[in-house]
Amino acid sequence: MAKWDFSKIKEWGWKEHPTGGVIPEAATTDSYATGGWRSVRPVLDSGKCVHCYICFIFCPDSSIVIKDGKMTGFNLRHCKGCGICAEVCPAKAVSMMNEAEAQGLEKCHLAGQDLGTEKSA
């Protein structure tokens, strides 16, 4: 839950915005899906994974999910599909899959809209 009430932000006049557009809280991306532009997604082969966390270190979007010391998969709300995890994995445990196919859609590059992503304009 956000600490500031911006529920009416779309109606705010210029005097209501914080000076300089500063958001009065941190790590707000957590509540905002940013993965909607992904065209390929990482898929984990847990049989091959040796839980070395190298993907965790390299992922630019902090989208590697670790639970109880084990690499368990990806946070697809924020994963942008860059493929770095697949590239750096020493066990070749990550492969990249077409996003539309993964969603059971026809192959196309406009996929990713049903992953909690805001449908904006």
Partner: protein, 388 residues
């Protein structure tokens, strides 16, 4: 005790910085600004100030570091010139858009090509719409005084915008000038402590800076708010100028007038040429020409209303611009602004523009007198001192 000293302009600026003792100074050297950072890093090495100096690899990085440090709540100062200012370009807008009260000295130098290291105002005029407040100085004294006031103006809660203080390259920066420094304690008391409402290092109240405007578009509203900060700056510049006058005896406002009250002919100029202009006014007066001077100090925000009321009684205004807009016979930036300030007035003086001193070409008394003599008949815009 105030102290009378003889200093080159860059050292006068460094003295003001020493008294302010900013938390962070990210800077990259460029002629003719270099001596400011040189002197200042010597002051740090000598333990005279506690500033953290960040030696960066370019002016783009200098302004980026200034932005980061300012967002962290630090009081930040830097300095640049010419190509350096041009390289900061995109970051200038980020500093003002994030409403960060950074204070920067710009030692005015022209922009290439051809390569030229001398004074004109092309560099800062290129940044005139970047949302920075702009103050121009006539001499080392004003450079020093402007820097101290700039801190207060930038950090004022009604303003919260970066300030650029101009001193003319070489003419001021490298000439020894006599000036009065205010006492260290008085300077410190005057600038006070810096406290930003939000800061990145305030871990108890964490904030997010420079976020994407979310496709819903809040950019327009934030720009509108920024325009209001710039508008507010006009009153704040005046108020701080008064306050500074009380402790130094030197009062500042948006502009200074010289023998303008009963003048028929007004000259307008920015920066160091004002000294020569005053001599020209005296000479013209002795020849029976009722001349006067309006030396513009504040170019951003532009003091249109005050300018109109100060010039309402004159019949001719000659604007001297040390840069050109290269806009197809539109004239220099000061000319464009001053002339358009009069558009809604019923009684409008005749305006003439003289673009002078590009790339450091000297402006002397004779040239000004010739310009005045030609102004009744000459073109709207004249390149003064160019070889025809």
């Amino acid at each position: 005790m105030p102290k009378t000293v003889a200093l080159v302009g860059t050292d006068a600026v460094a003295e003001a910085m020493r008294q302010i003792n900013p938390d962070v100074v990210p800077a990259y050297p460029i002629t003719p600004q270099t001596s400011i950072v040189e002197t200042y890093s010597q002051m740090i090495a000598d333990g005279l100030v506690k500033s953290e100096m960040i030696n960066v690899e370019s002016e783009h990085s200098a302004m980026s570091a200034a932005i980061g440090a300012a967002a962290s709540g630090a009081r930040v100062m830097t300095a640049t010139s010419s190509q350096g200012l041009a390289l900061m370009w995109e970051m200038l807008y980020i500093a003002s858009g994030l409403r960060l009260p950074i204070v920067m000295t710009n030692v005015s130098r022209t922009l290439s090509a051809p390569v030229n290291i001398h004074c004109d105002h092309s560099d800062s005029m290129g940044a005139r719409d970047s949302g920075w407040i702009q103050l121009y100085s006539e001499n080392a004294q004003e450079g020093y005084d402007n820097i101290l006031q700039a801190i207060r103006i930038a950090e004022h809660p009604d303003v919260q915008l970066p300030v650029m203080v101009m001193i003319d390259g070489f003419i001021i920066s490298h000439s020894i000038d006599r000036l009065d420094l205010i006492d260290d304690d008085a300077a410190r008391k005057f600038v006070g402590k810096h406290k930003l409402k939000n800061s990145l290092l305030d871990h108890e109240n964490p904030t997010t800076w420079g976020a994407f405007d979310g496709l819903h578009g809040y950019y327009f509203e934030l720009k509108r708010a920024q325009a209001e900060g710039m508008k507010n700056a006009a009153a704040v510049v005046k108020q701080i100028g008064e306050e500074y006058g009380k402790i130094s005896g030197r009062y500042y406002s948006h502009f200074e007038t010289y023998r303008l009250e009963d003048a028929e002919l007004a000259l307008i100029v920015l920066g160091s040429a004002a000294g020569t202009m005053k001599a020209a006014v005296d000479q013209l007066r002795s020849q029976g020409v009722r001349a006067g001077l309006l030396k513009l100090r504040m170019f951003r925000p532009f003091p249109a209303k005050e300018l109109v009321s100060a010039l309402s009684h004159v019949s001719d205004v000659l604007v001297f611009d040390r840069s050109d807009t290269i806009a197809g016979e539109m004239g220099g930036p000061v000319f464009i602004e001053a002339r358009s300030s009069f558009y809604d007035e019923i009684k409008r003086p005749r305006f003439k523009n003289f673009v002078y001193g590009l790339g450091g070409r000297d402006l002397n008394l004779d040239m000004i007198l010739k310009a005045v003599a030609s102004s009744q008949t000459g073109n709207l815009i004249t390149y003064l001192g160019v070889r025809e």
